[in-house]
Amino acid sequence: MMAVCIILLKFAVKLKTTSMKRILSIVGFSILVLLQGCIKDQVMTRTTVYRPEYKTKDEVRANIKSSTPIELTAPGKLFYKDGYVFLNELNKGVHIIDVRNPSAPNNIAFVHVPGAVDLAVRGNILYADMYTDLVAIDITDPKAVQLKTVVPGVFPERYYSSFVPDSKLIITAWIAVDTVLRNDETISWGMMKADVQTMSASSSSASGVSNGTGGSMARFALSDDRMYTVDHSKMKVFNTAIPEKPVFVKELSAGGWDIETIFPFGKNLFLGSMTGMHIFDISSKDNPFKTGSFTHARVCDPVISDGKNAFVTLRNGSKCAGFINQLDVVDISDLSKPKLLKTYPLTNPHGLSKEGDILIICEGADGVKFFNAADVNNIKQLAHVKGMKAFDVIALGKVAMVSAADALYLIDFSIPSNPVVKGSISIKN
């Protein structure tokens, strides 16, 4: 710009007519004005985004089988059935772990189910979500599972805001990528809408086909020969009378917004939200209807029931913005009039489970505690296992399976006052 001005000045010195000088001045000024268009701020941003990797639906479905086991990195919901633990690896699939010998749990296989964040087991069929689809997998032989049925498009809420995935392809992985953006470039990275929350759950069936025992993060719930799923504001009903051929029955309102968990209790369903639980009567299996609310527990508060009482843990640090750490025991013999019986202070309680009179509570960084809950008005601590950051637990017989930050632990509590860690499978962080 300066070189241009200098050249113009030198010419101007030699000009003799006033009009030529005026023209030169105008030209010079115009150049300066036009160059304003080139003067703007530049921004270069270096950041990290997630990019999807795709496969075709046919490729993905062909790969739903028992494959080489992989490391645990992001464990989610787990189910136990007949000596095997089926543990969700968030968004990737299902680990199959042989725990028939608690001292030597063995990660024997992995089933690739992209997008899986939920599991349920009915008989020999494992149900999982594959993004928007429901898949039914025969797990009769855990080392050789078989895909039986795909029910497409039943979970349309599983989308990515600001990102439209290809409908013919399935995202099989997300890769973190460092990227550089310039000026007005924008990022469009995928964001999962469905959150996964923790909630202890158990299920049973009167139809002769046993449902597996699940722990935590329940968005699928099995009751009798129906499966109920929830996502934010909707509940869906699936007929699983023929377990390997689930049939979508209907969709209905979940009774509120931000519904994130569901668990069955007798002839009722408890749907968890940020403000409490919505209670649905499922006496008519295909026509659940809301009967009331249970405000003693919210979506962040793990809850289990032994049929007469509900045991609810509340903690600080959860997304429900709680500030107390305690166990609440609620009499639910009359669901229309739940009654808080007693509160017990705890450290930072998370998931819990109950086997007979033994109540097991995960206390986060404070490990796992075992209680005698024979008298709910006088629950006494029996033992405390430290050295793990425990989030969730399932009690099966005399073995507790504890999901912790670094591993899946198997704890023998045959002698409740002296629980022993028998074995574990590491989680790679």
Binding site: L32, M44, T48, Y50, A74, N91, K92, M191
Partner: protein, 189 residues
């Protein structure tokens, strides 16, 4: 370096403004308005150096409020040119834009804050103007120039990890290169 090269290119054939034979000091405080694509703001500069035969060499420091308050320090070269009894000058400055510190801002994630750390970058200028004689000496200066300064901003934020459905903390780096037009008024001592 580009600025200095341009200045050197102007040295040769340009007419000298003064017949002084010895170097003498000069001082020019300036106040200006900087106009860019982001906003319009102000800057204040203090330049000083030595001059001989119309060539002024020196250093300067500034307070630049445009977008990020920063403190450029620079070397400066000026060349005065007389054009039909009008005293003009061209100038070029190059140096470093000093910027440091941290700023804590509220995040759109309720209750959270973002801490931004700042560091500086290049500062450069090319421009020119004229000098108005007051009391028989070149005193009042008006100038227009293109001015560039750079600032780096780093902060941590969270993105949603769709693999394990949890937030992941990442480090972001924004590098701003701000190109502006500066209109200044100065007084030469």
């Amino acid at each position: 370096m580009i600025g200095f090269s341009l200045v050197l290119a102007m040295l040769g054939p340009g007419p000298a403004n003064a017949q002084q034979k010895n170097w003498k000091p000069w001082l020019v405080p300036e106040a200006g308005i900087v106009l860019g694509s982001y906003t319009l703001d102000r800057d204040f500069r203090l330049n000083a150096g030595i001059e001989k035969k119309g060539l002024m060499l020196g250093m300067g420091a500034a307070l630049d409020y445009y977008r990020f308050e920063s403190y450029p320090v620079y070397f400066q070269a000026r060349k005065t040119v007389q054009f039909r009894k009008v005293n003009l000058f061209v100038m070029s400055s190059w140096g470093y834009n000093v910027k440091s510190g941290t700023v804590v801002e509220p995040s759109w994630w309720g209750g959270r804050t973002i801490t931004k750390k700042y560091s500086g970058g290049v500062y450069g200028e090319i421009g020119g103007g004229n000098i108005i004689r007051i009391r028989k000496k070149e005193r009042l200066q008006f100038s227009v120039s293109w001015v560039m300064k750079a600032v780096e901003e780093s902060f941590q934020s969270e993105i949603w990890n769709p693999v394990n459905q949890s937030p992941r903390t990442i480090t972001n780096l924004n590098r701003y290169t701000m190109n502006r037009t500066a209109l200044r008024i100065g007084w030469k001592f």
